[in-house]
């Protein structure tokens, strides 16, 4: 296939990569956003290359399938320090000591030039459930309420913890590949608007230290500073000054996500930036995610989630409601095609 001028132009772009963090992902995966030839993107819809870093446990393979199909063609998958995945026969294995940037660029060029076929869909391109509508207008349940017309329950009102307006609630699995979620974590959240009403831990996070400061800075809308914080310099005076200047500390409401040891998101952020002395370790006590997240709006909830020390978060997840395994499985299955929730 001859290359058109536009493909040739595109081939020189920074390679948009979406990283799916597995268990035991290489440490370099966290700092990949500093690689000059790559651009690590937030959503698979913007990526050309899916990079699976580390081993993907069986429980998360269905999520990986969905993620894979959400990349636009032409696309390819790389397995970085990951054992082969049977359902992804076309994926290219990359060793720990290979130059990941080089490998990604080569595959990208090959796919774009048409030397390598774009990876086909894994899941069938069909509605997740067939039409099961009953009732006088096909709406599902009897009368005008309820029913599961497309394999998904119709929105029903739910009691509201904040203003008693009792509007419709929405339940879906979030994670494990949302860029700001701790690797491996899958939460089944019930939302009313963007207020979290219920939290169930569907899959606990991996035993893996992420880069909480970079994630927090990203959540605060400071992506460039986040990249800077991933740099080699342990004590970067410019970083500290820029963080001060940005008002990030002021942006975080005080008292948000308070743990039994008295620390809130703001103090934890101070510890990360070096503005406050490092505490020995956070003490989760018997705190659950429910205590921490329920009643918060999405942005605040994500700040709380990402401010936690990875080990503390694992303790909290152990305390928390993990739901009836079968039930949540069914739920996430049924929600699977409703957009990008991976």
């Amino acid at each position: 296939m001859g290359m058109t001028w536009i493909t040739r132009l595109a081939a020189g772009a920074r390679v948009p990569v979406f990283i799916a963090m597995g268990d035991g992902a290489p440490a370099a995966a966290l700092t990949l956003s500093r690689h000059p030839g790559l651009s690590v993107v937030d959503t698979p819809r913007a990526a050309s290359i899916l990079l699976v870093a580390g081993q993907m446990p069986d429980a998360l393979i269905p999520y990986l399938h969905r993620l894979h199909d959400q990349l636009p063609h032409p696309r390819a998958t790389l397995l970085w320090q990951s054992p082969p995945i049977p359902s992804l026969p076309d994926a290219i294995a990359v060793d720990a000591d290979d130059d990941i940037g080089r490998a990604v660029a080569d595959v990208f060029a090959a796919v774009l030039e048409g030397k390598r076929a774009s990876a086909p869909d894994i899941l069938p391109d069909a509605p997740p459930s067939e039409w099961r509508g009953v009732g006088p207008h096909g709406q599902g349940g009897k009368g005008m309420m309820g029913g599961t017309p497309y394999g998904r329950p119709m929105a029903m009102t739910d009691d509201d913890i904040r203003d008693r307006l009792a509007l419709d609630s929405y339940t879906a699995a979030f994670g494990p590949f949302l860029p700001f979620f701790p690797p491996g974590l899958v939460l089944t959240l019930t939302l009313q608007g963007d207020v979290i009403q219920k939290v169930v831990v569907t899959h606990p996070p991996f035993d893996h230290d992420g880069s909480p400061l970079a994630t927090l800075l990203n959540l605060l809308g400071l992506p460039a500073l986040a990249t800077r914080s991933l740099g080699d310099r342990a004590d970067d005076p410019v970083l500290r000054r820029l963080i001060q200047l940005s008002g990030a500390r002021f942006a975080i409401p005080s008292g948000l996500g308070r743990l039994p040891d008295g620390s809130d998101v703001r103090t934890r952020f101070d510890r990360m930036t070096g503005a406050a002395p490092d505490a020995a370790s956070q003490d989760a006590g018997d705190t659950t995610l429910e205590h921490l997240l329920v009643g918060l709006e999405w942005h605040a909830a994500m700040l709380v989630l990402c401010s936690l020390d990875p080990a503390t978060l694992r303790d909290i997840c152990k305390n928390s409601d993990t739901g009836d395994q079968d039930e949540t499985q069914g739920e996430s299955e049924s929600e699977m095609h409703a957009g990008h929730m991976s």
């Binding site: 309420m145 029903m156 009691d159 203003d163 219920k198």
Partner: protein
Amino acid sequence: MTKDILFYALSALAIWSGWRVFRVDSMIRATFALMVSFIAVGGIALLMSADYIGVATVFMMAVEMMVMGLFMVMFMMNPAGLNPMQMVHQYRFSIGAGIAAFVGLTVAILTTPLPDNPLPPGGDTLRDLGFELLGNSMLIFETAGVTLLATMVGAVVLSSASGRFGSAGQGSVPPGLTAGGPPAGRTAEDGKGHGGHAGHGMSMQKKPAMQAHDDHGKGH
């Protein structure tokens, strides 16, 4: 000539989008169809050199319809219209009434001798309006302003959760007869209200479902 073509195009747009408001399934489409209808009317007003009224209509309706759209999504059970359903009643009668109103008005318009006293060309309509608002009709203008203020206060009072029995945080539930006991009097959940997004005649099927949901909601 250009003015005429523009007028007929905008009129067609206004009527067509006004009609679509009640024909589309998606509530968001309905809301924004209404907005398009208003914008078209604003455009016609601009053609008639009502510079301020025309533009202000666009401005106001963009905001109003945005808010309306939010309410649609909030309160309707099927705002995207993915699930076809009919939410109408007295359909035939309504169509008849609509047509009767249109025909009646049209006949009245066509048979009445309308006064012909067009806008003098080259006038500064904006300046006229300004002097009218802050001159002769100051009282009317101020009354409208005070009415709007009263509306704002009234809307907040009506829609906020706080009522006679406490603040928004506690909700408007009467206090218990005993300390911590069940609320005195009737509450919304006791089945007297025809709950939910109910349509006609299915409160029987629906009540159990609502109850189940309420229990579920209170469980945590």
